[in-house]
Symmetry: C2
Subunit: 230 residues, 2 copies
DNA sequence: CATATCAAGATGATCGATTATTTGTTGACA
DNA sequence: TGTCAACAAATAATCGATCATCTTGATATG
């Protein structure tokens, strides 16, 4: 017997596998902003036909991580200073709503979930053993989980999903900064403080700390973007 | 000479043409929520190969208007009462931010743009001559243009884009209601009032009116959704 | 020297056949 | 009856060839 009957073996499709790979490559900066995404080239690298690649690229494009122009193909979304500022602004606005409503509506289970995810974040080293810091690295996964859990009790899947996309878009900027050698001293305390404010049910403080957290990161990244700008 | 050198003839691709068609069909309710989107069937109806269809469906899926499961194909996104409420909530939150910031930052050009788009909305009959009320009908285009112009001066492309997606998602619910025979008596005055509040630079009033506007529509649609729910 | 024309060549888009996976059906067996 | 394996049909995903469009650069022209 090869498998439990109760377990559904998920056969992932080539298109989504490649989608995930490309996505990670864009998020961790190994695919440079503005770089051409040549379908044939990619298909050879992944040893696949053209169709799955195109599907993956179409998804990335509608998601915002790539750009597409009819008859001119795909390109990794460019980055820019205005882009960073817009992104940061949007993150502040939306996460503020999210955390305020979560503090208002969140139950004990929510409290536990943010506590646990913050704990995990504290315990996870920034750089994994193999030195990887890509979007699939443990720290990044846990980091995102913490931020998403903060707003997860707001009651609006739409808001949560939007914040998730914003987080990813920001992740790209963070990676670029890291590649350029710039990185936070230690955001650990900031996360802790946000957690505390949330557990204390202090919406104003939590929102303020969260906003500062985003803006501080942006300020740091900012110094790098000018040089990369495409 | 076939064309002006200064004019770029836009050669649209089959994939995007079909994307637009399917999109409109979903938004105006001619594709029922939950309905299966059979690739081959669609490809015959449009007299095209499979690839453009798949590309179009992939875009729709990442955009949220369709749903996709690996090896199980595409489906028109279902509707639900919780979905409608979530959507309405998100629209209220985001548009509130948008209009407040626009009132704060908008210049004379913004004032003129909202004035003009409201005027156009007033002058456009709900049902066009051919009786069409689809998302490509004049009224719907003008209606969306008005709502988008209200928040267009907020300074955040991200927010504007998000609101655009939310608007479309809501459009779908409106269409379903209309198909079920339910429709607003006359939202014209509400639009007028919002415009006035915005021009008066009264953020609280504008935000309140906008929120009410959304919620009133939702309340109306609500009665219908239970029966359609998939 | 600047610009226009045009022909490869490169790249993007599409097609229809092929392969993989899921779904539906049948019949053996407890 | 109800369960389950085996098979058949339907549907999804993928491939690689082909067609369409764009880009490049060599040549001609004012």
């Amino acid at each position: 017997m090869q498998e439990q009957h109760t377990v559904r073996v998920v056969k992932t499709t080539r298109a989504t596998a490649i989608y995930i790979d490309l996505r990670d490559a864009i998020l961790d900066g190994s695919l440079t902003p503005g770089a051409k995404l040549n379908v044939r080239e990619i298909s050879e690298r992944f040893d696949t036909g053209l169709s799955p690649i195109r599907e993956a690229l179409n998804r990335l494009a509608t998601e915002g991580l790539a750009r597409h122009t009819d008859n001119r193909g795909f390109v990794v979304s460019p980055v820019s200073l205005p882009g960073l500022m817009d992104l940061t602004q949007a993150r502040c606005w939306m996460n503020e709503i999210g955390i305020r409503r979560s503090i208002e509506l969140g139950d004990a289970a929510w409290e536990e979930s943010i506590l646990v995810s913050c704990h995990r974040l504290t315990r996870t080293p920034r750089t994994s053993s193999n030195g990887s810091v890509g979007p699939d690295s443990t720290w990044n996964v846990v980091h995102k989980a913490f931020h998403q859990s903060l707003i997860s009790a707001c009651g609006s899947p739409w808001l949560v999903e939007t914040c998730s996309q914003l987080f990813d878009a920001a992740e790209r900027y963070r990676s670029l900064a890291r590649l350029a050698g710039v990185s936070r001293s230690d955001p650990r305390d900031e996360h802790q403080d946000i957690l505390t404010a949330a557990l204390d049910r202090d919406p104003d403080k939590a929102a303020a700390l969260l906003t500062e957290h985003f803006q501080r990161t942006a300020a740091l990244v900012r110094t790098v973007v000018g040089e990369i700008e495409t």
